[in-house]
């Protein structure tokens, strides 16, 4: 009976743990193998860190990492816009529920669809440039995704467009769980609009803003494949290549599995740092207690 009691939890956990080991555990071991070995003409040799050396000397890889870091610039913009929208909605502006539904919609649309629609939208003779020409800004009608200096910022605009709704909905949900008295008290004390936001809203949202920022860092570093694949395919001339796309390209276009594995391992280590940070934030801010 006692043994049954000890075993029982593991029986409940077993199906999940087996899948998780197969999908996460085993691949990590394979990654270490793949990135430290090389098979030439059927003979597998241990190559140590040589693959990592090759990787770090590859200009395209360095370009991909730089671009991935560039994407982080989206985050402050996203936080700002999401904050503004959440505050306006929270003030129960007339029609706020309809606005909320509309503003949240981009986040749910498939990245593939969003990416392709924007790819046409930003073409040289696309709808966006038509609009610019119509208002006399002909000089600004550029090839947004085909120009190596503009392509990455354009992709970033699309990412912000799609991801901002998530921040907004998080912030709004948090604001709605704040005691109304807190706002009333501040108003009675004579706080103006800016003061109210500065001293009540933003501090109340601090933990959620942190949470959203860390989640967004992870998104930017490792969940943006779909945008690049559909909008630019990494081009022009690798201007929009990101780490994720580099891995895809090396593994499935050029069949350089060892290089792809080494890059994957590095990406995993970097995200690991942020995952750790996220867990720390979660524990520190007591997020677990207030969730569910």
């Amino acid at each position: 009976m006692k043994i049954m009691r000890q075993i029982e939890p593991w029986l409940f956990l077993a199906p999940s743990l087996i899948v998780i080991l197969a999908v996460f555990g085993y691949p990590v071991i394979r990654l270490i193998q793949l990135s430290t070995q090389k098979t030439i003409e059927g003979v597998t040799r241990f190559t140590g860190l040589a693959t990592f050396g090759t990787l770090l000397r590859d200009d395209i890889f360095l370009k991909a990492v730089t671009n991935s870091l560039y994407l982080l610039l989206c985050i402050p913009v996203m936080v700002f816009i999401a904050l503004l929208l959440a505050i306006l909605l929270f003030e129960r502006v007339r029609g706020w529920q309809t606005y909320r539904s509309i503003l949240f919609l981009p986040y749910l649309l498939p990245i593939t669809v969003v990416g392709l629609v924007f790819a046409y939208f930003f073409e040289l003779n696309g709808a966006f440039n038509d609009l610019l020409r119509a208002v006399g800004l002909d000089r600004l009608a550029l090839e947004w995704l085909g120009n190596s200096r503009l392509a990455l910022p354009t992709v970033m605009v699309v990412i912000i467009w799609k991801e901002v709704g998530f921040g907004m909905i998080l912030f709004l949900a948090r604001l709605m769980s704040v005691e109304e008295d807190l706002f009333d008290a501040a108003r009675i004390d004579g706080a103006g609009w800016w003061q109210l936001q500065r001293y009540v809203t933003v501090p109340q949202l601090a933990t959620v803003i942190e949470f959203f920022s860390v989640v967004s860092v992870i998104t930017m570093l490792s969940w943006v494949f779909g945008y690049v694949y559909t909008m630019t395919f990494g081009g022009p001339a690798n201007a929009t290549i990101v780490t994720e796309f580099y891995i895809y390209q090396k593994a499935f276009r050029f069949n350089q599995m060892n290089l792809a594995a080494a890059a994957s391992l590095l990406l995993l280590l970097v995200t690991w740092v942020f995952i750790f940070l996220e867990l720390r934030l979660r524990n520190r801010s007591g997020l677990r207690e207030v969730s569910g």
């Binding site: 199906p15 998780i20 593939t112 969003v114 709808a127 490792s222 994720e244 895809y248 569910g292």
Partner: protein, 279 residues
Amino acid sequence: MKLAKKPSLWVGKLSRQLILLAAATVSLIPLYFMVISALKGREEYLENKWGLPSVPVLTNFVTSLVQESTPNRYFNSLVLTVGAVAISTLFACLAAYAFARLRFPGKNTLFNMILALMVVPPVVMVVPMFVSMARLKLVNTYEGVILIYVGILLPFSVYLLTNFFETIPQAIVDAGRIDGCNNLGIFFRIMLPLSAPALVTLIVVNSMWVWNELLIALIFLQKDDLKTVMVGVSAMRGRYYLDVPATMAGLLIATIPIIILYLFGQRYFIRGLTSGAVK
């Protein structure tokens, strides 16, 4: 409150409306662009990008449905969505019950480890998984892809359900125990029925995720008759480069299930996606 504030109040209201109206417009433009373009002929699209179609044409939908074997793609996406969501929900329920209600050594550590997996980039697993699955002949099978999806969905599902199970009052569980329920009985007769809202939330959010997924479907289902809706449309741009309206029709057909899901299950989306951060 004071009289002097009245005009600024009015200005404030107007500017709020304007900001939200502008944001809503920007949010809807791609959708608008997609719908009107899908209803235009090829020539009309070139001349008139923003306006409504003079005469709406439906041929683009026919092109997209017939030439792109859309029904087949829909079937594939549906199999993956139903399979992955059903299995991951069942497994996650069981695990969440253990985390929320049973005692065992190393519980918190294990829970945190699973939590951490929530954000592991899928692309990291793709390379080694592909190598292994090629050897096991699981590439180009539904099973292989469903296995990967279940793995990716599990951490979030376990997290959401554990938190929900923890909110179910212990008194109800104790009452069940007094009535002679064992753990499995409590799980099926008490926890699951009481968790219906959380389960619906989870199913809605996870279904959307699987339907929208591109990377894994692209790599693991390369045979043409196994391709998913998203993989299918991602290739349309190359194939119909000069026929933008046909592509737009394809994109619209791919998006409709998500929009329907959103119209009916909006509150579940909001609840599901904000859990983990707020009450």
